[in-house]
């Protein structure tokens, strides 16, 4: 299968995402100015500081031509994964409900975290067990997930709350310790922690993040079969 990884001016983790994806399939970068997604079967909107995070994290990047195509791609059921800044972009683009706000601790924070899998039925966590703990690093200044109470209740019912921070790990103040959510249809997923930085025991000491990419591969190839 083939992943496409978007690249904006100011993206930082796009090469990391690219090589993580290449551990389970093919992957290519897609320049933000391109409309053509190059035949990608799943899209990754990577981490970093697109447009310097100026104005509001993700606010400018979501208008790029590539994002227009991604919105259409998602509308047709394509898999879209947003990591950190990518999660912020997907919220800004209304592909995911809610918004990400500045951390309650008011500064950029790096930490290796424990996450809990709340939903393992979908295309992004299919390779994980329900309740499984994943060790994945997070690093961001705007990671506080917010959605209004009705939306959250509906998301909860619909299995859209996919990952949460294990007890004591939520440094950004996200409501209900939410670390990753998907849309109603289940084909768009965003999370603040960085699974692409947990794909190799040598670098980072954990390969738990690989399960996210593996899940996507299983889902795409399953649908093809």
């Amino acid at each position: 299968m083939k992943f496409g990884v978007l690249q904006f001016p100011g993206s930082c983790d796009e090469v990391d995402a690219l090589s993580a994806a290449r551990r389970v399939g093919d992957a290519e970068l897609i320049w933000h100015g391109e409309r053509d997604l190059g035949g990608a079967e799943a899209i990754i909107v990577p981490g970093g500081f697109s447009y310097g995070d100026y104005l509001r994290a993700g606010a400018i990047a979501r208008f790029s031509p590539a994002m227009e195509s991604v919105i259409e791609f998602a509308g047709n059921g394509g898999l879209v994964l947003g990591i950190c800044n990518g999660f912020q972009v997907l919220c800004e683009a209304h592909l995911l409900p809610g918004a990400l706000l500045p951390n309650t601790n008011r500064h950029f924070t790096f930490r290796q975290l424990e996450l809990e899998v709340l939903y393992s039925g979908g295309p992004f966590t299919g390779a994980c067990a329900l309740g499984e703990r994943l060790s994945i690093p997070a690093k961001h200044a705007w990671g506080r997930y917010y959605a209004d109470p009705e939306t959250l209740a509906a998301m909860d019912r619909g299995g859209q709350l996919v990952l949460r921070y294990a007890p004591g790990e939520n440094f950004n103040g996200s409501l209900h310790d939410i670390a990753g959510v998907c849309n109603e249809r289940g084909n768009v997923f965003g999370l603040m922690p960085h699974p692409e930085h947990a794909v190799d025991e040598l670098i980072g000491g954990s390969a738990d993040g690989l399960k996210i990419f593996e899940s996507m591969r299983m889902s795409v190839e399953g649908a093809r079969a």
């Binding site: 104005l55 918004a99 951390n103 309650t104 917010y146 103040g173």
Partner: protein, 77 residues
Amino acid sequence: MRARVLIRPKAGILDPQGVAVERALPALGFAGVANVHVGRLVELDIEDSAQLESMCEKLLANPLVEDYEVELLQGSG
């Protein structure tokens, strides 16, 4: 025309910066300050002020979590 957009966190949503400022003030010798909120200020020259509303909705503010207020400073479009 010069326009000014004031963007604030929506009521009810935690504003950690506002809280931090409020907490820091007494130690600096300032008393009697409450309800501090920190937001963003965007100022710009715009030819067609009719665009402002949609620019705020789409770009300058995130209406889900922020309120905004537009002030036109000179002339009129």
